[in-house]
Amino acid sequence: CSHDFLDIYPETTLNEGNFYQSEEQFIILANGCYIPLRDFEKNTHWVISELISDNTSFQYNNRTGEAVRGVIDQFIITAENRAYADFWNLSYNGINRCNKLLLEIERPEVKWSDIGYKHRSSGEALFLRALYYFNLVRQYGGVPLVLKPISADEALQMDRSEETEVYNSIVSDLNAAITEFESASNLNENGRANLYSSYALLGKVYLTLKDYSKAEAALKKVMDSNKYALLANYADLFNPGSKDYKETIFSVQYSEINRELSNRFIFMFAPWTSAGSITMRPAINMTSAGWNMPTTDLRNAFEEGDLRKGVSIKIWNGPDWDGVVRDIAYTGKYQRPISAPDDRTGDNVPVLRYSDVLLMYAEALNEQGRTGEALAYVQQVRNRAGLTAPLSGYDQASLANLIAKERQVEFCFENQRWYDLKRTGKAVEVMTAHGQREKAEKDFLFSSAYQIAPYKLLAPLPAEQILINGLEQNPGY
């Protein structure tokens, strides 16, 4: 009989068989490497990097039960919390996409019309792999270091790597990315990782490692490129109608076009009691909104006259959860949809901005004892915020404090605060004070809220992965 009769292939999807042929296919695979990043930034990352910190909290909702997110805000951190599992799963999903691309792209049969695309795609995969690991290592400490596609059997043989090994790999990936991007300099596209996002991230990694001179060198590359600058108007950074690629070096990309490409930040971050009056989409249910709302701590962190405050924090006057009309603060960095009739929004999430580079650079200089040199870069950032009074009289410690405060207000709602607190060793101190104030302010918190302990600075590995993968849990959980 004819065996053609039995050869049936899916018509709605492609399959691997004859896939790795052309340049276009690898560009598509490289695009795919960004997707898990987009998906966890949308739902999870802000929970474990911003909500967990002293910057944001949530509007109490006496009508719903406990949620995954509320406990994290209150520093009740457990290995069963879905946020940690989702973040873990999506991160490694992204890493595997990068690994797969880096493996298959070396196939000799692939035809490249411009070899630059091969370098660019490799560079993107290396950059993204570094970013995935950088997030992982900052959350969980040492994690299994997977640098090629592995089978389930191989995965079971793997243990957690030392934190330093993970960092070494991140540095090495970023250096490799830099090399690749240098051969693809004519193929830049807004939104893609590039040479300078690699340098900026490298700078941040070195800063985290407290290798200040290397951080300084990497960040200097970005500054010397003259490709990036501060926008005159801070609010322009958060306009989904005209996305910024001048100050924003790397951001996670969203669009209102369709559900997959969109986020729904304002529908999660506006007060749930505001119904449609902030989102202007009365048809969209807001019952489970009210997250990532600025705390008193954050609001107090802004100096008098700081133009960023009005951009970052907006006030809505309306009924609170208990029906009492109050001024309720919510984030101003994420906007309602421009044209989507429903809850699709397209705000990008900045990961690396030029002001970040400046403040990191200042921090690297200050930590090396070059406080005076550093002042100018902090000043640049403050000037744009309308805080133009010249900085003077700072010693190393007080400038470090100023930089920390600048970072808190400059990057609020941008998922930096928790990492900054940990990096600068202030997490326990700041969170203890924050917890006390929160407990004093809110009588509805869980009785186990804000039990600050150093072990909680490292996130728990997801309980299911302890079971499935046999990995060692972080102490304390």
């Binding site: 009989c1 492609l14 896939f19 296919q25 592995i150 079971l156 076009i257 490409l261 019952t287």
Partner: protein
């Protein structure tokens, strides 16, 4: 089965050999003559010319001409030469003998002519005349034996009687003697495998929509669970346990030769498309020697369904009507706190909150108005569950016309079935029809074709899902609120009493949801069949057929903006719709060649076949929202289509198959089969799979050492071994797919793909089964016993293996692991009392032990199910599939316990709170890590018992079925045992811990003082005994006497009956249905998970069957 007096033939022979005449009768009818070769009477000459003669008359005429006796057993007619068989002396010896006379009648009181009457142990015999009268000489000590084809023999002692009247009863045993097997039929006595038939007569009048519901309790080892009581809802059918982890456990259905791979569809049972009134026979193939002929689809057993075809030379018109009413029994309805108890519970909750927040005792003013005056709250309050239910009508009409001429028969039926649901606004309507024609073109070629179009319209409600579905809400909704406003209008949304400290959940009024929400499925299906049969030689037959199934369906759901959700008031302009359009076409071409040969003591039958099948399905689904208003609900009124997709599913299969039956002296039987399946679902490396089987049987009772007088009528020992497969592995699972996605850079949308895991070696599951069985008929066929022992080992399990996330994936489909089912099935029955009053009883019991022998090398367990993000079931090696998994409830923390040294200090450890066992002993109670196996959903045994009584024209049937052992988990307990104060809770919580002085029953903890609370985790509390005994059906029937019928002239026979389906259920389980199963949970890995089950109703109905 046909009767020889009802089937007419046209004959015109002059001086023709008998064998030719018999062959002509075979050609015109379904009868088959058992012809011993080389018998001299076969060459005797017959002359007869009749345009229309019944087979009975014809055979009598032949008997006259050549002196032969005939005996019919179902379709088989055997013959013998009485002169040769036994030389009956015509003249009694006369000594001491007296003349006995009498009349022989059937159960309907009609005289039976032609009955053989013999004095036992002698050669004296006679035959009853046309009026059923006989006369015979016998002595007082003699026994008379009355026998006639199709009737049970009777033995009567003469004593001092001179008149002996006898009522002969139909021999139902004999009617079953031909069974449908894969690709053919077989005489039951020749069957070597484990095959069971459903007695159509017993289940004929059951008021149900599909044939699987009729089979409940009828066949040993077939577990049919009614997982939902919704009209048209699917059942879970398992033959000999669960043999698969990932590829489904439903059997293969074969309808008129067409494999109908149903799978389980809880929303709409695929078998509803077949009107049970059109079904002639149901056979269940259980062991591998009978299922291996279905190869890669046979592993879960095969259910063969044959529809009615009509007969030649006769016209038969039947009409049946049934109408009844369904009602949900009181037993199994939820028993929740009444309104006073609920108010007290809410006050307790508010007390804690006030104390916690404001460090003071609560006062009356802290409570919502509705809770303040407890004494005013008398009575149960609103019983929401009761409100969503109703008494619902059910009706079924069927018209069947069969007309045959001597070479052609046609068959036409029309059926209408309408079942309204006991949950308001649900229901099913079916319009079914069949038209079939068969014609003998000439001696050698027969053609036939049929179509069976069926249209189904089903209105659904969301049930068996979660606490948000209508039944979920109606169980937990607070009893203080009411469904109607002051003006008597339904409230769309019910706001629970509000307090700033704590409020119970507000909810969408389930009555309003049922009324306003649209969820309807319209389906059309047609089974088409065309065949040609060519008798190349008298014993060589070629058959070629084309079977098709065409299906088209449309599902439409509209949720208007007036429907809110829990704590989500409706918002105007939020209407949303869902549309699914589906069509499929499945065709099968089969070519088989059959060869029969009898040589002396050797009988051979061989069959070879080639089949090709292809299935194509196309579906489109669209979700649209929001709708600005609810006036127009078609998609064009929606502002956007927010999700859409198209699915194309195809598979194809090429098979070669064969079977050889061999018997020696009708005593030693041997069967071998093979099938080779090539499937598009298998990777190209192992595209063809081979499924062989062998079986042998020894009819011990035919051996010479069994005297003719033995009380044993039939004793057969069967042994079989075979291999079959399960190919439900998904159509494209072996290919690594590239998952599509997209990303955006600035404003440019781009494709972003990722590569999935490939499974180049992915293949079918394989099942090896050994069966040893005994068929035993004894006491003159008054009793029977069938015992089967089997071991079924399934390998190459299709597993959704959970793999470490660091691979980039969370699950992977693999073929690994094995599961064993071994068990005993016993069917025992008989006719303890025969005569005017007749009692037959059929019982069956099946013990099955399921055990996972191995899983993936790396996987110690498979976790499945979902409760608050945690698993509810675990499958581990050494245990049956899908054990319940959760905390062991140890009771509550007491003062005494807490005063011990070394008690863990955690926020959850406080007096009155729930105490779970620290299984891993680490001092901390963790979800999952401290879970353990807390129950087993698999019953120890299942049983069925059917009793039929008849007295004269009255008959009474009772069907009982049940299971013993096994447990069920009520998933809604996450809500109804949840003391957080959001929901109403089970009445048991009246015994909760309230204070040190009122500690309750020590099991039910207090209202939680710490959030997040623990009290609603899966625990031993949720697991209940699922044993049950159900009186599944009771039918009382009355057949109008033929004497009366004859006066009516038009009607040939008429029967009236009254039936109660699901009469009573005896069980410890508190929920609606111990067999309930959440629709969104995997039936194999998450078995026994009852969630807001659509209740099974008790149906009382009346019916009439008329034959014209």
């Amino acid at each position: 089965a046909q009767k020889i007096d009802e089937v007419y033939v046209r004959v015109n022979f002059s001086e023709e050999k008998l064998v030719k005449v018999l062959q002509e009768v075979e050609r015109q009818t379904e009868f088959h003559f058992t012809i011993q070769e080389n018998e001299e009477y076969l060459s005797k000459k017959i002359s007869i010319n009749q345009a229309n003669i019944s087979v009975e008359e014809l055979l009598k005429e032949i008997g006259k001409q050549v002196g032969l006796n005939f005996q019919q057993v179902n379709r088989n007619i055997s013959m013998w030469d009485p002169a040769k068989e036994s030389e009956i002396e015509d003249e009694p010896d006369g000594q001491g003998a007296m003349d006995i006379v009498g009349v022989i009648r059937d159960a309907n009181g009609m005289p039976v002519p032609g009955v053989t009457v013999i004095v036992e142990g002698s050669t004296v015999g006679t035959v009853s005349d046309i009026d059923g009268k006989y006369a015979i000489a016998a002595e007082p000590g003699d026994q008379l034996i009355f026998s006639f084809i199709g009737y049970k023999s009777q033995r009567v002692g003469v004593g001092n009687q001179s008149e002996i009247n006898v009522v002969l009863l139909e021999d139902e045993q004999a009617l079953e003697e031909i069974v449908v097997v894969g690709y053919g039929t077989q005489k039951k006595e020749d069957v070597t495998g484990s095959i069971a038939s459903v007695n159509e007569k017993t289940v004929k009048d059951l008021p149900v929509s599909s044939v699987d519901q009729k089979m409940i309790g009828q066949v040993a080892g077939v577990q049919i669970q009614q997982v939902s009581g919704a009209p048209g809802a699917g059942t879970s059918v398992k033959i000999r346990g669960s043999g698969s982890l990932g590829a489904g456990n439903e059997p293969l259905y074969v309808v008129d030769g067409m494999p109908y791979s149903a799978g389980m569809n809880q929303s709409l049972n695929p078998l509803v498309f077949i009107d049970p009134n059109n079904i002639e026979s149901i056979t269940i193939l259980k062991d591998a020697s009978s299922t291996a002929i279905y190869g890669s689809r046979g592993a879960n057993g095969v259910i063969m369904i044959t529809t009615k075809k009509g007969s030649y030379n006769t016209t038969n018109i039947t009409f049946s009507a049934m109408a009844g009413v369904q009602k949900v029994p009181e037993k199994g309805r939820p028993n929740m706190l009444n309104q006073r108890e609920f108010a007290q519970f809410q006050r307790d909750r508010i007390d804690i909150e006030v104390e916690l927040r404001e460090k003071r005792e609560a006062t009356l003013e802290d409570y919502p108005l509705e809770y303040r005056d407890l004494d005013a709250l008398s009575g149960d309050g609103t019983d929401w569950y009761d409100l969503v239910l109703r008494n619902a009508p059910i009706q079924d009409y069927n018209f069947n016309l069969q007309k045959g001429t001597d070479d052609t028969r046609i068959n036409f039926s029309l059926g209408y079935f309408n079942q309204q649901g006991v949950v308001k606004e649900t229901g099913l309507e079916r319009l079914s029809s069949k038209i079939g024609i068969e014609s003998n073109l000439n001696d050698k070629i027969k053609l036939g074709a049929s179509i069976q179009p069926t249209f189904i319209s089903q209105n659904r409600a969301n049930t068996n899902l979660n606490r948000e579905d209508v039944l979920g809400v109606s169980i937990w909704a607070n009893p203080i609120s009411t469904p109607y406003d002051e003006n008597g209008n339904l409230k769309p949304y019910v706001v629970a009493p509000q307090s700033k400290y704590h409020s119970a959940w507000s909810f969408a009024n389930p009555l309003f949801v049922l009324q306003e929400m649209t969820s309807e499925q319209n389906s059309f299906q047609n089974l088409g069949l065309a065949f040609v049969e060519w008798s190349i030689l008298p014993n060589l037959r070629f058959n070629s057929s084309l079977n098709t199934i065409l299906e088209a369906s449309k599902f439409f759901e509209y949720i208007p903006s007036t429907i809110g959700g829990s704590n989500r008031p409706p918002t105007s302009g939020t209407g949303r719709s869902r549309n699914n359009r589906f069509n499929s076409f499945d065709w099968l071409i089969e070519n088989t060649l059959n060869y029969d040969l009898t040589k002396g003591d050797h009988t051979f039958n061989a069959m070879l076949g080639y089949t090709a099948q292809k299935y194509t399905a196309n579906s489109i689904n669209l979700s649209a929202s929001p709708y600005q208003n609810d006036l127009i609900t078609t998609i064009n009124a929606a502002q956007a289509i927010d999700a859409w997709g198209e699915g194309v599913e195809k598979w194809s299969m090429i098979s070669y198959l064969g079977r050889l039956n061999y018997s020696f002296k009708q005593r030693y039987l041997f069967t071998a089969t093979f099938r080779s399946d090539g499937s598009s679902r298998f990777g190209s490396d192992n595209r063809f799979a081979m499924f062989p089987s062998v079986a042998g049987a020894w009819r011990i009772s035919e051996e010479d050492f069994f005297g003719a007088d033995s009380w044993v009528d039939n004793l057969k020992l069967r042994v079989s071994y075979g291999k079959s497969g399960n190919n439900n592995i998904g159509n494209y699972a072996h290919l690594a797919n590239i998952s599509a996605g997209s990303y955006i850079f600035n404003n440019t949308q781009v494709n972003g793909f990722s590569v999935g895991l490939s499974n180049p070696g992915l293949t079918w599951e394989e099942s090896n089964q050994i069966d040893v069985g005994v068929d035993f008929d004894f006491l003159k066929n008054r009793a029977f016993l069938v015992v089967d022992l089997f071991v079924r080992k399934s390998e190459n399990m299709l597993l959704q293996d959970v793999i470490p996330a660091i691979t980039g994936f969370n699950t992977q489909t693999i073929n690994q692991g094995s599961v064993q089912n071994k068990g005993i099935e016993i069917a025992l029955g008989g006719t303890p009392i025969a005569g005017d009053f007749n009692w037959t009883i059929n019982g069956n019991i099946a013990f099955n032990r399921n055990e996972i022998l191995s899983l993936n090398d790396n996987t110690v367990r498979i976790l499945a199910g979902n409760n608050d993000g945690n698993p509810t079931h675990v499958s581990v090696v050494g245990k049956p599939i899908g054990q319940f998994f959760g905390f062991v409830l140890e009771g509550i923390y007491t003062e005494e316990y807490l005063s011990q040294p070394g008690v863990v200090n955690s926020p959850q450890v406080y007096e009155g709170n729930v105490k779970y066992k620290d299984v891993n002993g680490d001092g901390i109670i963790n979800d999952v890590l401290d879970y353990t196996i807390i129950g087993n959903p698999h019953p120890d045994f299942i049983f069925g018992l059917t009793n039929n009584f008849s007295y004269k024209n009255l008959d009474l049937g009772i069907i009982i079925n049940g299971q013993y052992g096994g447990q069920v988990m009520n998933g809604l307990r996450q809500t109804t045992d949840n003391l957080q104060g959001f929901f109403n809770v089970d009445q048991d919580w009246e015994n909760r811990w309230r204070s040190r002085d009122e500690p309750g029953d020590g099991i039910h903890s207090g209202v939680p003082k710490v959030r997040p609370s623990w009290g609603h985790r899966v625990s031993t509390l949720w697991v209940e005994d699922a044993s049950y005994l159900r009186i599944g059906n009771l039918t009382l029937g009355y057949t109008i006497p033929e004497s009366l019928v004859k006066k009516l002239k038009v009607v040939k026979s008429s029967r009236l009956y009254f039936t109660v389906q699901n009469l009573a259920m005896f069980t410890q389980y508190k929920g609606a249905n111990p067999e309930g199963q959440a629709a969104n949970q995997n039936n194999t890995l998450v078995p026994g998970f009852d969630m807001t089950s659509y209740p099974l109703s008790r149906t009382m109905s009346m019916g009439i069957n008329l034959s014209f």
